[in-house]
Amino acid sequence: MTDPFHDFELDLDPERLSGAVERFDLPIAAAEGYVAYLGLFDLLARRTQETLGTDARGRLSGLALRLQGLEGPMRFALYDRSRQTETLTRVARITAGESRLKREWLIPKLEEDVARYRARIAALTEALEAV
C-alpha cells in the first residue's frame, strides 16, 4: 500500500483544491470541523504507521514541521480575502442601490419633466402663433 500522505504537500495549497466538500452526519461530540479532522488525520496517521513502519515517524514529523509554518500565512490569507470580498461586495451593493434609484426614480422623473417641457412649448408656440 502506498503512503497515505502521498503528494499531501500539493493539497496544502488551497488554490489547488477543488473547493468541493463531502457532508457527513456525525454525533455532536465530533461534529465540529477541527474535531472531525482530528479523527480523519488520526486514521491517516495510523495507516501511515502501518504502511511505512519505522519510517512513519520521520514522515509525520516532516509533515508536522511543514504544517507549523502554514497557520500564520493561511490565517492572514483568509482574513485578507474576506476583507477584500466584503469591501467589494459592499461597494457593489451601494453602486447597485444608486443605479436602482436612478433607474426607478431619476430617469422616470427626467422623462416626466421632458414631457412637461414639450407640452409647455407646444402651448406657448400656439399662443405665440395666435398673436
Binding site: 463531502e22 457527513f24 488520526d42 504544517l67 436612478k102 412637461r116 406657448l124
Partner: protein, 165 residues
C-alpha cells in the same frame, strides 16, 4: 447528529487509505478517533499526535480558503458589473435626458420672453411646468469615459473625504 463538511480531497485520501472499509465503518472509526483526541491536549513529544492536531487545524483553514476562493473573483465581477451599469446610466442615459431637459427649458424661457415682448402673460398659459422639476440649467455632462476613470474618481473622492492617513 449534525451535518459537517470535510474537504473532498481529504475524504478521498481517507477512502484510498482504507479500501477495505465502507463509508459507515470509516465514519465510526473517525468519530471514535476524533472523540479520543478531543479529550486531551497533544503530547508535544509524540510527533504523530503533534501532526494530527496541526493537520486538523490547518485543514480548517484549507477548507475555508478553498471554499471561499471563488468568492473574491465573484465579488470582483459583481463590483465591475455594478460600476459598468452605473457608468452606462451616468454616461449615456442620464446626460442625454438632462441635456434634452436643459435644451427644452431654454426653449421655454425663450418662448416666454417672446410672449412677454408681445404684451402677453406666459403665466396665464397652461400647462405650467410646476414645481418639483429636476434642476438642469447648470448641468454639465460627466467627463468619465470608462470604468477605470470612474473608479479612480470615486477613490479620489473617498480619499479627500476621509483625509490622508
Amino acid at each position: 447528529m449534525t451535518e459537517i463538511a470535510l474537504l473532498a480531497e481529504d475524504v478521498a485520501r481517507l477512502r484510498a487509505a482504507y479500501p477495505e472499509a465502507d463509508d459507515g465503518q470509516l465514519e465510526s472509526l473517525l468519530v471514535e478517533a476524533a472523540v479520543r483526541h478531543r479529550a486531551h491536549e497533544p503530547d508535544p513529544y509524540d510527533m504523530a499526535e503533534v501532526f494530527i492536531h496541526e493537520a486538523a487545524a490547518i485543514a480548517v483553514y484549507r477548507q475555508q480558503l478553498a471554499v471561499a476562493k471563488h468568492r473574491l473573483p465573484d465579488a470582483v465581477a459583481r463590483e465591475s458589473a455594478s460600476y459598468a451599469e452605473q457608468l452606462e446610466l451616468d454616461r449615456e442615459v442620464i446626460p442625454r435626458l438632462k441635456q434634452e431637459a436643459q435644451r427644452l427649458r431654454a426653449q421655454v424661457r425663450d418662448l416666454e420672453e417672446r410672449l412677454r415682448s408681445k404684451g402677453l402673460v406666459p403665466d396665464a398659459i397652461e400647462p405650467q411646468i410646476g414645481a418639483g422639476s429636476i434642476a438642469v440649467d447648470d448641468y454639465e455632462p460627466p467627463r468619465f469615459t470608462n470604468v477605470d476613470e470612474r473608479r479612480a474618481a470615486t477613490v479620489e473622492f473617498f480619499r479627500r473625504v476621509g483625509g490622508e492617513r
